[in-house]
């Protein structure tokens, strides 16, 4: 009769046996939805205190933007810490280890399906989404995320800033899906993209587009824009403008809405201008700023962790 194998040795052998892992995973069933969603949140660093993300405030001074790549090893450690809470006994630790690859794949699928749900009303963006990640062994399981931190008064003053990230540094092509876009404090915005972001466009949000006029040879004017449904918003040929009238008050510059509406109606040749039609004329184009990321594509060098024996 062969001697019984010591328990710890048996557990180790189990953890290394792919058949045993598969049998255990089948026994335990797929990862619960809330667990896979939570792990996906953790991989997007949701809930991680700000001091862990930016350990030194000098790294993110006021009025600055900082691009970064997410360290997959860091998020792997984060997920291991999360899974460790169930490893209360030796068999549970072995079980947790056996279930880890499945949990990571489920987390990745949860993140991808969340992005698809987000992008659903926009078929164009959905088409840009890379195909469902292939389930490679451990190495490919941690998703590739990158993003930026923006610390600016603009975050507080223009809530809902429009953020677009692209994998192409030259042009607005290869749009990357947004994993997370969140204000961490009144003036700090965090954006995470799935993939390596090379170019980011920040645009004043459409709901904040302000009303204004263009100063023109002593007076004020607005460019005429079409109010026909098919061509709405397009500037009229010849860049025609109309003069904006003000109330006859020397001390105050108050727009004479009635006279301005009449002038625009005459300029456009329409009988009655609607409030939204006047809005189109007074609208100023939204400022947009493009940033090309400083994140190099070469991996970091000389990092102390590689010196580990």
């Amino acid at each position: 009769m062969p001697a019984a194998m010591p328990r710890h040795q048996a557990l180790r052998q189990l953890a290394g046996d792919p058949t045993a892992r598969a049998a255990l995973a089948a026994q335990a069933g797929p990862a619960p939805d809330d667990v896979s969603a939570w792990l996906a949140d953790l991989q997007a660093l949701a809930g991680v205190p700000f001091a862990y993300l930016v350990p030194d405030s000098r790294m993110l001074p006021p009025e600055s933007i900082r691009f970064f790549a997410v360290d997959p090893n860091w998020t792997a450690a984060l997920v291991d810490g999360a899974l460790s809470i169930a490893a209360t006994t030796a068999p549970a630790a072995a079980a947790s280890e056996a279930l880890r690859p499945g949990a990571l794949i489920a987390a990745r699928q949860a993140a991808a399906s969340r992005r698809r749900a987000q992008a659903a009303p926009r078929p164009a963006a959905a088409a840009d989404e890379p195909a469902t990640p292939t389930d490679e062994p451990a190495a490919g399981v941690t998703p590739t995320y990158s993003g930026f931190l923006l610390r600016s008064a603009a975050v507080a003053d223009w809530p809902g800033m429009q953020v677009n990230g692209y994998a192409d540094p030259q042009a607005a092509t290869l749009a990357l899906p947004i994993v997370r876009l969140e204000r961490l404090s009144p003036t700090i915005l965090l954006a995470l993209f799935a993939g390596m972001v090379q170019r980011v466009d920040l645009t004043e949000p459409g709901q904040h587009l302000y009303f204004g006029v263009v100063p023109l040879s002593g007076g004020l004017s607005v460019p005429l824009r079409s109010v026909e449904p098919a061509t709405a918003g397009a500037q009229l040929a010849g860049d025609s403008t109309v003069t904006v009238s003000c109330r006859p008050d020397p001390n105050r510059t108050v727009l004479d809405v009635t006279a301005t509406v009449a002038a625009v109606e005459q300029g456009l040749g329409v009988s009655s201008l609607s409030p939204s039609g006047l809005g189109l004329q007074l609208l100023q184009p939204p400022p947009s700023q493009t940033f090309t990321t400083a994140v190099a594509t070469a991996p970091a060098q000389a990092d102390p962790s590689q010196a580990t024996p």
């Binding site: 619960p32 000098r58 997410v70 709901q207 009303f211 006029v213 263009v214 510059t253 809005g279």
Partner: protein, 523 residues
């Protein structure tokens, strides 16, 4: 932004039927509330005929629809532009507010008397500090000149101050909540008449916008992507101190006092309900969105420290700092106060994944850097915060523990089933027939040798005596030791053999007269 999309129809849009298009803004003249403010009653009548008798029932439910006459909710104002407290060259801008409820500007009838539908009750008045009065003086620096007064102070203001004419909404409010207070601003009568929009101008200063909300940060608004917009009509030009104060005021009760109406005489001030107010400075320094974006400093996410020296230590620190490292205080497990390298998950350059077996403790993720004799606590800190965050999330912690526990119980089963003698645990122990197999192995490897003896030469079953007198009979259920050993060596099933023998013995013992072949009923 490919250009604004106009919608001249002006009908109340339906969020479900008109999805936003990415990069476009849709404009609507207004969104009227589905149920205008007023008093309503629901009358339910039912008549029943049963057993030749008629009975009719009726009930009346009365309700009142009101708008936010005196104050807006905390999240109603999404943004105020130019931003509060900002400084910029806004001289060609009209100030505006963005509101979270798309029908908010049309929820209160302006009154008194009928007025065209689609006339907003909100107006954005841009004023200078000289045009606002707080008990005889201009507002103090940093304030917008608002005062809190009881409702009676608004409806019957001090003499010489013009208040709103009593409207149904205000009178209802006075009857229901006489003690309510409201925030008001006193504007000079001259400035009010000069700045307030005319009745026909009001609809042109408010509209509704619909944008695609999917590439914006999620805002807590009732209908994402839908906003109402109220603009002022005055350019911030000409104030001696460059300071401008914007008030979003309610015009409820002011329909008869707007600049296109005959001016009432004998008033020096106008008291208006101020729903939101802010101040900004318009001067030569630009401070708008585009300017802020241009002024942003770009750079790597590193600590901006450069050691002065050129020795090996300085070079090492320089390279570590460039890789995003910083040095933080670290208390070792022995209580020693020292420092450790740390860098967060956000790296200045991509880092290759370095797959590791799962780390069972934070200490397992500590990295020792022999070059500096310091620990790198980055991953250990990540491990620990992952554990703490998950422990703090009760439902997920329970769910995860149950999931792992179900696999752990399978492991325990597996260990128990294979402990009896297989060379090591294997997944086959979880198969459905595993218990039977394990029992057979147990019998074969332990019970049988124990009963028969190692050498097999001491058969013990039923041998020494025959107390039951069955010895001469064939005994179903018992196997000769030699048969059993042969069978087990060949991998056969002793249970099956016992079963077969029992059947054969039973057949032999059935008397001929009850055999099925000769039974009277036949087969």
């Amino acid at each position: 932004m490919s250009g604004p999309r106009g919608d001249a129809a002006g009908a109340a849009p339906d969020a479900a039927s008109t999805p936003a298009v990415s990069g476009q803004v849709a404009f609507y003249d207004n969104v009227l509330p589905a149920l205008p403010a007023g008093d309503y009653q629901i009358i339910v009548q039912d008549s029943v005929t049963a057993d030749q008798e008629d009975a009719s029932y009726a009930t009346v439910q009365r309700f009142r629809v009101t708008g936010p006459n005196l104050a807006l909710g905390p999240g109603d104002v999404v943004a105020m532009t130019p931003p509060a407290g900002s400084q910029g060259s806004y001289d060609t801008w009209l100030p505006h507010v963005v509101l979270a409820q798309r029908s908010l500007p049309w929820q209160v009838p302006i009154g008194p008397g009928p007025i065209a539908p689609g006339t907003p009750w909100l107006a954005l008045l841009l004023l200078t500090s000289q045009e606002i009065d707080v008990a005889g003086t201009p507002p103090a620096a940093g304030t917008t000149g608002v005062q809190t007064v009881p409702l009676s102070g608004l409806l019957t203001p001090p003499s010489g101050t013009l208040g709103p004419a009593p409207t149904t909404g205000l009178l209802n409010l006075q009857a229901e909540q006489p003690g309510v207070t409201c925030t008001v601003v006193d504007v000079t009568f001259e400035a009010f008449r000069a700045v307030a929009p005319q009745t026909a101008e009001l609809p042109f200063l408010a509209h509704v916008r619909q944008v695609d909300a999917s590439d914006q940060e999620a805002l807590q608004v009732p209908a994402p992507g839908w906003y109402s917009f109220v603009a002022g009509n005055r350019f911030p030009v000409g104030a001696p101190d460059n300071l401008y104060i914007a008030h979003l005021v309610s015009l409820e009760g002011f329909a008869g006092y707007l600049p296109d109406q005959p001016a009432p005489t004998g008033y020096g001030l106008v008291r208006l309900v101020s729903l939101a107010s802010w101040s900004f400075t318009s001067g030569p320094d630009a401070g708008d969105f585009g300017y802020l974006m241009q002024q942003l400093a770009t750079g790597p996410l590193t600590v901006p420290v450069t050691p002065a020296g050129t020795d090996a230590a300085s070079q090492l620190v320089t390279s570590a700092v460039q890789d995003g490292y910083t040095i933080l205080g670290y208390t070792s497990r022995l209580g020693e106060q020292t420092v450790a390298w740390y860098r967060g998950p956000f790296q200045p350059a991509p880092v290759a994944a370095n797959p590791q077996p799962p780390q069972a403790a934070a200490a397992a993720a500590l990295i020792y850097d022999p070059a500096t004799g310091m620990f790198d606590a980055s991953y250990a800190a990540g491990w620990e915060i992952g554990r703490l965050l998950t422990l703090a999330n009760g439902p997920v912690a329970v769910s995860l523990s149950q999931w792992v526990a179900s696999a752990a119980s399978a492991i325990r089963l597996l260990l128990a089933r294979t402990a009896t003698g297989e060379p090591g645990p294997s997944a086959s122990a979880l198969a459905p027939d595993a218990p039977q197999r394990a029992a057979r192995q147990l019998i074969a490897r332990q019970v049988v040798p124990a009963l028969l003896g190692r050498d097999g030469g001491r058969p013990t079953l039923g041998r020494p005596a025959d107390p039951t007198g069955l010895r001469g009979l064939e005994l179903p259920g018992l196997l000769e030791a030699g048969t059993l050993r042969q069978l087990l060596a060949a991998g056969g099933d002793p249970g099956q053999l016992i079963h077969d023998q029992a059947i054969a013995a039973a057949r032999r013992e059935i008397p001929p007269e009850v055999s099925p072949a000769s039974h009277p009923d036949g087969a």
